[in-house]
Structure formats: structure tokens, C-alpha cells
């Protein structure tokens, strides 16, 4: 969907939900007045994180990270304890590549947030390592209260010189000194989870409660 098609859907009052395969190219042409006049959920993963973060920062719009039908009501998702602890905050984030690409270019403040991280493999582990290093070095994760790690598509069973995806993720996330909950059923091909709403990350009990 290009910017013109997305704007058409944003303006169409009969459209109540937009399933979007987005990218950075639509950001500079978004019809923000249409979003404010008739806010509607945008559902997607990957490059759609660009749109979620932009519209959250500019309009406060809640996006949905995932694919498929939106589930109403609060969600309880079970993961795996990586770093124990319990925190409350607004769930923000999404696909790692777009998050790092927005550093210095419109990424909202993550201070006080629970950071959601998912991903898609386009290269190897080095790319994930570069992206996480960038976010941390830029100070973009300052004030993050906890991290919810979802699904990284394409990395199942992937090992490079004895390192797996989880080795790269924990190598960085375990240095943040906040609770980390891994292996959550969120991300590409997983049911949508709202972004920009209150959440409780209980990494000790391995449960993320959203909404």
C-alpha cells in the first residue's frame, strides 16, 4: 500500500480497520487530519512499525502489531523469563529494523515504556546486533522499564558460529538492568497486540498483560 492508497483508506469513513504492509516511504505524506478526524486501527508488522510509531507520536493513535483479526478486551500472553521482575508502563515499539531506522528521525520517546521487540530476518545475526547496538548507543532506550521480546521471523534454528538469535538479544538486553520477557507470541504471523496502551510486564511469572 503506497501513501495515496493509505490516505484514501484513512479518509474513507466506511473503512474501520486497515491491514497495512507499510514502510518509511509513506510517512512524509500521511494525512494526519484524516487520522485525527476518524481514528481507526492500523494492523501490521515489519515496516508498519514506522506508521505505528509516527502516528502514536504525532496523533496518539493506538496501532496493532501483528497480523489478523483484532481481539477485543485485555490480553494475557505467556513468554519465557529472561530477566525477572515486574513493571508497568505503556507498551511501545514493534519491529526492530524500523525502530532503529527512526532514531533521530521521529522515533517517539520510550522513557517509561515497556519496549516491544519483534523482527524479520533480512540478513544474519550481525544485522540484529548492529540494530540493537544502535538503539542503545543512541540513548533511545533510556528510561525503558522492561522489554517484551516477540517473534523474529526467519531465525528459527538459525545458528552462526555457535550464536543464535537469543544469544544476540540477551547479550544486549540483559545489560539494560530491566525485566526482560522473551519468546512472546507477538509479531509476524501472530495475532495483533495494541501498541500505545498500558501494560504490565511480569517477567518473573512470565506473563505480559496488555490493556
Amino acid at each position: 500500500m503506497n501513501a495515496a492508497q493509505l490516505n484514501e483508506a484513512l479518509r474513507d469513513t466506511t473503512v474501520r480497520t486497515i491491514a497495512l504492509d507499510g514502510d518509511h516511504r509513506v510517512l512524509d505524506r500521511l494525512d494526519l487530519d484524516a487520522v485525527r478526524a476518524d481514528p481507526k486501527p492500523i494492523v501490521g508488522t515489519g515496516g508498519t512499525t514506522f506508521v505505528h510509531m509516527e502516528l502514536w507520536r504525532v496523533c496518539g493513535l493506538v496501532g496493532y502489531h501483528g497480523n489478523g483479526q483484532i481481539r477485543l478486551g485485555s490480553l494475557q500472553l505467556t513468554g519465557e523469563t529472561w530477566v525477572p521482575g515486574r513493571v508497568e508502563g505503556v507498551l511501545l515499539g514493534g519491529s526492530l529494523g524500523p525502530l532503529r531506522a527512526m532514531v533521530g528521525a521521529g522515533l517517539p520517546s520510550l522513557d517509561g515504556a515497556i519496549l516491544l521487540l519483534t523482527g524479520e530476518r533480512t540478513q544474519g545475526l550481525g544485522q540484529v546486533d548492529r540494530q540493537l547496538t544502535h538503539l542503545i548507543r543512541a540513548g533511545a532506550l533510556k528510561g525503558v522499564r522492561g522489554v517484551a521480546v516477540g517473534h523474529f521471523a526467519g531465525f528459527d534454528g538459525f545458528v552462526d558460529r555457535e550464536w543464535s538469535l537469543n544469544d544476540v538479544l540477551t547479550d544486549h538486553l540483559n545489560t539494560l538492568n530491566v525485566p526482560v520477557l522473551g519468546n512472546l507470541p507477538i509479531g509476524p504471523g501472530r495475532p495483533p497486540v495494541p501498541i500505545g496502551v498500558s501494560a504490565v510486564l511480569n517477567a518473573t511469572e512470565a506473563v505480559l498483560s496488555v490493556g
Binding site: 531506522a101 527512526m102 533521530g104 533480512t122 550481525g126 546486533d129 548507543r137 555457535e162
Partner: protein, 265 residues
């Protein structure tokens, strides 16, 4: 090492150069310690990376900048070593050499010239679809595109007065990077662009083709009103010509040449 010794130098291997941790050559602490030892050692006159330097971006904030300012010496390397070049240039204005040693031919010869001679070096471009005519003078900054993206909002200053050098293999997010640089205003006041070997596969490009990175450059940079010289022989190619960084250069897109000061003076 043989090539360097053949130039009359006494090469010393870093203590941890042959270590291994996952896809990197040892722990961050050990790799950083090797690098800072070399930066502080007055007997060391240049630091040469043997290969790409995976994970160099992880240690850039630990570099001993006081040692660099007290005794500047060039770092030679490319690919992930571009992270060191950018970090050191941004913090101290240090000059470096984008390239490598030991593969022979014009690569070794251009590296030797940049380390031993003070005469300017000229790189000649092959015809390229991204070239935008004009002439510009500025400081050469950049290197591997994927290293440049590591510094957006994380240490890369505004590039006014600079000529941005870009090369790199298989970068799936090249368009995103240029979008981010433009959105952040980092390219305001840029003097020109020097494009090396840039073979990209970018799924977000509007008109896909075998030269997608070139399409991205035309779309994002072609209308900025500054010269672009494509087809320069630096980058991830077998016979790359070494390029000095952090030095003054003149880019002449009519003549197809980039003439830069040496890495030493």
C-alpha cells in the same frame, strides 16, 4: 603482514586479533583493549585491520580519544571498520584510510601512497547512472553505508561542508538510511557525494532492478542540487583503490575525478 614488512614497517599483531566470540574476534573488552593499546603506543604509527572487523560498532564509545588527540595515527580498514573511521572523525577529526592491505595491485599501492606520501591522490570514476555534474570541495566522510546508518542520532554530526562517501554490499535498508538522514536534516549543507561500489538489494525501492542502490541515490540525492560522482573504484571489490577519509578533497563530476589530500601530512 608480509606486505607491511615489505614496506620497511614492523607489523605487530594485536594480542586478541585471533580470538573468537560468536561472529566476532573476541570479547568487546579485549578487542577494545587491543585497539586502545595501539592508539596509545607511540611506536605504533598506523593501525591496520586484517579483515572486516565484525562488531566494531560495539566498541566505538570506548575509544581512547585523548590518546588519539595527543598522537593522531591513521586507521586502515573498510566494511565494519568504517564505524571506527566515523567515530574517530566525528570526535577528533582524525584522518584514515578506507581500504585494505595485502591483496596486491593497485589496492596495496594506493594504501602505501596514502601512508607514506603527502602528495594528493586522484581516483578516476567509471561512467555511472547516478553522476550529477558539478564540482565540490569538502571533507571526505563516510565509507560503508551500513556503518553510516549506525551513527544516525548516535554521534554523526550535520554534514555541512562534507563530501559523503558511500559504498557497501547487499544493504537491504539503504533507502531507509538516506530517508532518515534527510528527515534528520543531516545532509543540510552537504557539498557532494562520492559513490563507490554499492551493490544493493533494497526491497523498498520504487523501481526495482539490478542497480537498486543506484535508483535510491537518484531518487533521494539526485535533486539536492549538489554534485554526485558515481562509479568510483573504492569499496567491496577485489581491486579497490584506497580512499583517504577526514581530509579535504575536490570532486569534479565533469572530469570524473576525486582528488584528495593524503592520509598523512
Amino acid at each position: 603482514m608480509e606486505t607491511l614488512a615489505g614496506w620497511g614497517l614492523r607489523p605487530e599483531l594485536g594480542k586478541h586479533a585471533l580470538d573468537r566470540r560468536g561472529f566476532m574476534a573476541g570479547s568487546d573488552e579485549d578487542r577494545l583493549a587491543d585497539l586502545n593499546d595501539a592508539l596509545r603506543d607511540p611506536g605504533v604509527r598506523a593501525i591496520v585491520a586484517a579483515t572486516g572487523g565484525a562488531g566494531a560498532y560495539r566498541i566505538v564509545d570506548g575509544l581512547d580519544l585523548a590518546a588519539v588527540r595527543a598522537d593522531p595515527k591513521p586507521v586502515v580498514g573498510f566494511s565494519d571498520i568504517s564505524n571506527l573511521h566515523i567515530a574517530l572523525w566525528a570526535a577528533t577529526g582524525l584522518a584514515g584510510v578506507h581500504g585494505c592491505v595485502g591483496t596486491g595491485g593497485r589496492t596495496d599501492e594506493s594504501c602505501r601512497r596514502l601512508l607514506f606520501e603527502t602528495e594528493p591522490i586522484t581516483l578516476h570514476a567509471e561512467p555511472s547512472s547516478v553522476t550529477v555534474p558539478g564540482r565540490a570541495t569538502g571533507v571526505l566522510v563516510g565509507g560503508c553505508a551500513c556503518a553510516v546508518s549506525n551513527f544516525l542520532g548516535a554521534g554523526l554530526p550535520h554534514l555541512d561542508g562534507a563530501i559523503l562517501c558511500l559504498e557497501g554490499p547487499q544493504n537491504p535498508h539503504f533507502d531507509r538510511m538516506l530517508w532518515g538522514m534527510l528527515r534528520a536534516g543531516l545532509l543540510d549543507g552537504i557539498r557532494g557525494f562520492a559513490i563507490g561500489d554499492l551493490i544493493g538489494l533494497d526491497p523498498s525501492v520504487a523501481e526495482p532492478g539490478p542497480d537498486q542502490a543506484m535508483t535510491v541515490i537518484r531518487e533521494r540525492l539526485g535533486g539536492l542540487g549538489v554534485p554526485i560522482l558515481g562509479g568510483l573504484p573504492f569499496g567491496h571489490r577485489e581491486d579497490q583503490v584506497c580512499l583517504p577519509l577526514g581530509v579535504e578533497a575536490t570532486l569534479d563530476a565533469h572530469a570524473g575525478s576525486l582528488t584528495a589530500d593524503s592520509a598523512v601530512c
